[in-house]
């Protein structure tokens, strides 16, 4: 057993209102420099839709993630030898057309234009070439709120796959929001794709980072990440990606996207996992088993054996305690209401999603007489087809989604019953049995999902910077890892660090 700690996130999609505050604050914090204009470390997609970049889920085209070949786990785009053969031209890489040409507006014209009959306008201007763009045709959220209509929705790879289940007739349309950041996977394919070894997973907290000094701009991470969350900076010719706001999490603060989330949909916490089991878990034959096998790598933070091993691995008391209080452990591992995004990519992603409930399609005619168990068939009549959710969160296993939705429904019925009566009836109900839960658990869930305060939603131990070896030297230095320039030759040849 080799215990490692991982900082992870859960997003409760029921509460996402699609306001993009997370994207905007993230952008203002990290990607407002030349070369990063098109990078959205955090973006919110309207589903069904093409996502960002366009059709990123089309793994047949971009060849991201892992695949099983003769029972062995392999990068879908090919191993090191084939990468080196393709190093002069990456056939799988997305280009600016798949993202968009970022632009700004010529605001100056509003003030400086001479007197004329018509109102002055601020024309869109490409930030890549400086040329005016007469008609911007695509952007990161061009199809927000289904505004691309059937034309764009039909390009969603998931919709293409599920044509039989999804019809985009007006009465049957559905939508949901899907905020995405880097998954900080347990088995990251971007790391394995990097010829220079510049991408790495941090031992302390599992955050996947790009070493800007080691990156040589070979770009295999861009297509190697099936979530398309590694970006190429055209200005520095290096890769950049979501860094889970590590300067904040090291200080015990949530990421900026979580901090500013209006709907408070995000939860951050620590989970302990067994690094020795990762490869095996990612190599199970049936993609539908990947969800369960991923769950099996996480360790119970209350188990004395696990605690002993964790301490042996250098994980301190504060981190173990945080793992015990972790909202992620509760939601994803204990209650099993949070699911990984696209487990079939075999990267064991660590940003989990509580699937959204949605209105029931058919009218319930006699609502007053509806007994508790009447909610069970309702699960299958929700506006968002279970198949759609299954396709993005459980490798098409609708049973997994049904279970979660049942539990969330049971929670609502129970909490409703507490206020308007019917709680005894609920205790005997088929719904409670089928949801495989207890009223106590449901109340815990309701508390965490509904009313949890800041400190319950974000249980983040600090980065133990006090353990750094040379704090006196660090005094007044840049807090970002090695961003401050080295002080002369001495620091290069081992000197002061």
């Amino acid at each position: 057993m080799k215990i490692k700690a991982q900082v992870a996130m859960v997003m409760h999609l029921d509460k996402c209102i699609g306001c993009h505050t997370c994207s905007v604050t993230c952008k203002n914090t990290w990607t407002n420099r030349p070369g990063t204009e098109y990078m959205w470390f955090n973006n919110v997609e309207t589903r069904p839709g093409t996502g960002y970049p366009k059709r990123w889920e089309d793994t047949e085209r971009f060849k991201g993630g892992w695949t099983l070949k003769n029972g062995k786990l392999q990068l879908k785009a090919g191993g090191p030898i084939s990468k080196l053969m393709n190093i002069f031209y990456n056939p799988d890489m997305a280009t600016m057309d798949d993202y968009y040409e970022p632009w700004t507006y010529n605001y100056e014209n509003l003030i400086n234009s001479p007197k004329s009959e018509n109102l002055p306008v601020a024309r869109p201007q490409s930030v890549i070439t400086g040329e005016y763009i007469d008609k911007p045709e695509w952007g990161s959220n061009w199809d927000d709120d289904l505004a691309g209509g059937t034309e764009v929705v039909s390009q969603d790879p998931t919709v293409e796959k599920l044509q039989d289940h999804i019809s985009m007739e007006y009465e049957k349309t559905f939508m949901m929001y899907l905020p995405r950041i880097c998954e900080h996977c347990l088995n990251p394919s971007c790391v394995a794709s990097c010829p220079s070894g510049a991408l790495y997973k941090r031992d302390e907290d599992g955050i996947v980072l790009v070493d800007q000094e080691a990156c040589r701009g070979w770009r295999f991470c861009m297509s190697g990440c099936p979530y398309h969350k590694v970006y190429y900076n055209w200005n520095t010719h290096k890769a950049e990606k979501c860094n889970f706001c590590y300067p904040r999490t090291e200080a015990g603060l949530p990421t900026i996207c979580s901090e500013t989330c209006v709907g408070r949909i995000r939860y951050i916490g620590v989970v302990l996992y067994d690094a020795d089991k990762v490869k095996e878990a990612a190599s199970v034959e049936d993609p539908q088993d990947l969800y369960e096998s991923q769950l099996s790598v996480f360790q119970d933070p209350f188990d004395p054996e696990v605690i002993k091993e964790a301490k042996k691995a250098g994980i301190n008391e504060e981190w173990i305690e945080s793992a015990q209080k972790s909202p992620i452990y509760k939601m994803a591992m204990e209650w099993k209401i949070a699911l990984p995004l696209h487990p079939e990519y075999r990267t064991l992603p660590m940003v989990w999603y509580v699937p959204p409930l949605s209105p029931i399609m058919n009218h319930i005619t006699n609502e007053d007489e509806l007994d508790t168990d009447g909610y069970i068939p309702a699960i299958d009549q929700m506006r968002i087809p279970v198949e759609y959710l299954a396709s993005i969160m459980s490798a098409d296993d609708t049973e997994v989604i049904r279970k979660v939705l049942l539990k969330l429904t049971a929670m609502r019925v129970h909490m409703r019953g507490k206020t308007v009566g019917g709680i005894d009836e609920f205790r005997q109900s088929e719904l409670l049995k089928e949801a495989n839960t207890t009223p106590e658990e449901l109340e815990d869930m309701a508390r965490l999902l509904g009313v949890a305060k800041y400190n319950d939603r974000f249980v983040i131990p600090t980065g133990r910077r006090e353990m750094d070896d040379n704090l006196y030297y660090e005094q007044g230095a840049c807090s970002l890892e090695d961003l401050a320039p080295p002080e002369g030759m001495a620091s290069l040849i081992g000197g002061n660090r």
Partner: protein, 231 residues
């Protein structure tokens, strides 16, 4: 006197600038050390231009090793006749040269034609593509139309020994005095290019990621180790 300048001082100065420049850039400008890809902007032309050029230059590189670095006596020892060698050199070299020149022309056109690529191309970028194109074109011309039979001019009797003599610090510049002008031009331009490598994006040639084939797929780094690595 001018022979000493061109065939002793100039090559040594070029190599010195290259080595010191590389060391400086590696030590202090690590953040700028990368392959300068513009694939993000344009990939239809790159798909042909880049592999053609790169594979061409790789074969040309090994061709130069075979022709300039490995002495004639070695070929005699393993029983490769002059005719056999020249046949290989002419056919192989011509193919590599033509492929490389074709690739460079595609890349140069691409650099000029596509707005995002052109706007972000620096002087150094144009310089390195054009310099490579000129040098490669001369080299290809020599290979395709040249005559290397011992009766005419065999570079293995002059340029090869001179090149090797540079590295044993005993430069025999007199070997280069009477070679055809076009060979002189090719050689001098190449040394000029070497000197400019640290100031262009050609530096990525020095970071061929061979270690990738042997390393573990997953990389973990702890903050403590990380500091040790980078200090």
């Amino acid at each position: 006197m001018s022979d000493i300048f061109w065939w002793v001082i100039f090559p040594y100065a070029s190599l010195t600038i290259m080595i010191l420049g590389l060391l400086y850039r590696f030590a202090f400008r690590q953040l700028t050390w990368a392959a300068p890809s513009t694939e993000f902007f344009e990939k239809k032309w790159l798909r042909f231009g880049s592999p053609l050029f790169h594979w061409g230059i790789i074969f040309a590189f090994f061709g130069h090793i075979m022709g300039i670095v490995i002495p004639m006596s070695f070929y005699d020892a393993i029983g490769v006749s002059d005719d056999l060698y020249h046949m290989g050199a002419v056919y192989g070299g011509s193919l590599a040269g033509i492929v490389m020149v074709a690739g460079l022309i595609i890349l140069l056109i691409r650099k000029i034609v596509f707005d995002p690529v052109r706007v972000h191309a620096t002087f150094a970028d144009f310089y390195s593509v054009i310099a490579l194109l000129v040098i490669a074109a001369i080299g290809t011309y020599i290979t395709v139309f040249g005559n290397f039979t011992p009766e005419e001019f065999d570079y293995r009797t002059a340029i090869g020994p001179w090149f090797r003599s540079l590295f044993i610090l005993n430069p025999q510049y007199e070997l280069m005095t009477n070679i055809p002008f076009i060979f002189k031009l090719h050689t001098l331009l190449a040394f000029g290019l070497f000197a400019s490598i640290p100031f262009t994006r050609l530096i990525h040639f020095y970071s061929i990621p061979v270690a990738y084939t042997t390393r573990a797929p997953q990389q973990y780094r702890s903050r403590a180790q990380y500091k040790k690595r980078s200090s």
